[in-house]
Symmetry: C2
Subunit: 103 residues, 2 copies
Amino acid sequence: MRNHAADAKVFKAFCDVNRLQILEQLRTGEKCSCVLLEKLQISQSTLSYHMKILCDSGVVIGRSEGKWTHYGLSRDGCRYARELLEILTGENASTGNCCSCKK
Amino acid sequence: MRNHAADAKVFKAFCDVNRLQILEQLRTGEKCSCVLLEKLQISQSTLSYHMKILCDSGVVIGRSEGKWTHYGLSRDGCRYARELLEILTGENASTGNCCSCKK
DNA sequence: ATCACCCATTGACTTTTTTCGATTTGAGAG
DNA sequence: CTCTCAAATCGAAAAAAGTCAATGGGTGAT
C-alpha cells in the first residue's frame, strides 16, 4: 500500500509549465538560479519557490558554492520517479474488463 | 522543443492523492464510478471531476456501456507518460558541473 | 567594515484547483 | 411515457498554488 501523498509530491515537479522549463534547462547540466532566470518570465522569488518544490520532489538537487547555488538533476531522484511511474502504470497492470458492477 | 503545457497535463494525473487512489484501483482492472466511489472519501461530483482530469491526461479511458461508464488504464496513455518521463529525466541527461556562472 | 551580489523567505494578493449540493442528461426498466 | 439510476455539468465556496515586491542572510570583494 503506497503513500499517495509522498508519491504525489514527486510528480508535482512535472505538472507545472515553469518547472518543466527549468527541468529542460537542467538536462544540459547544472545551472545556477541567475542563469535559469534569464530564460524564464518570472521573478527571482518565484523561481526560488519553484526550485524548492523541485528539490522537495527529489528530482533536483541544489549545491551551494560560495554565493551561488547550483541546481542539477538528481540521478537517483530521477530514477526513483521513473520507477514510481512504472509501478503506477506498468504493463503488469491488469486491463481486464470490469466484473464488479452487479448489473 | 516540447509543449510544456501538454506535458504538464499528463503528469497532472499523478500529482493528486485522490487521483493516485483511483489509479491504484484501476491497476487491478476496469471499474465503474460507483465501485471507485466506495473506497474514496469524496462526493460523486468530485469523482466525476477527477475522472475527467484522468481521461484528459490520456492515462485513463472511459468506456460507456448502458447506464454505466467503465474506467480503465489506457495502455498507450500509460506508455506515453512513461516515455515522457524518460525524456525529461533520462540517463542521457547531463549531470556535469555548471560552467555558465562567470565566477 | 562596507559594499555588492546571489538567493531564500515573508506577506499580500491573484489565479487555479478542489470540493460539494443541486440540477441535468442519458439509458434502461416497468 | 414515467420512473429510476449512473454519471456529467453547473454554480458557488473553500482550499491550494503561484506570483511579486520587499526584506533578510550569507558570501566574497574592496
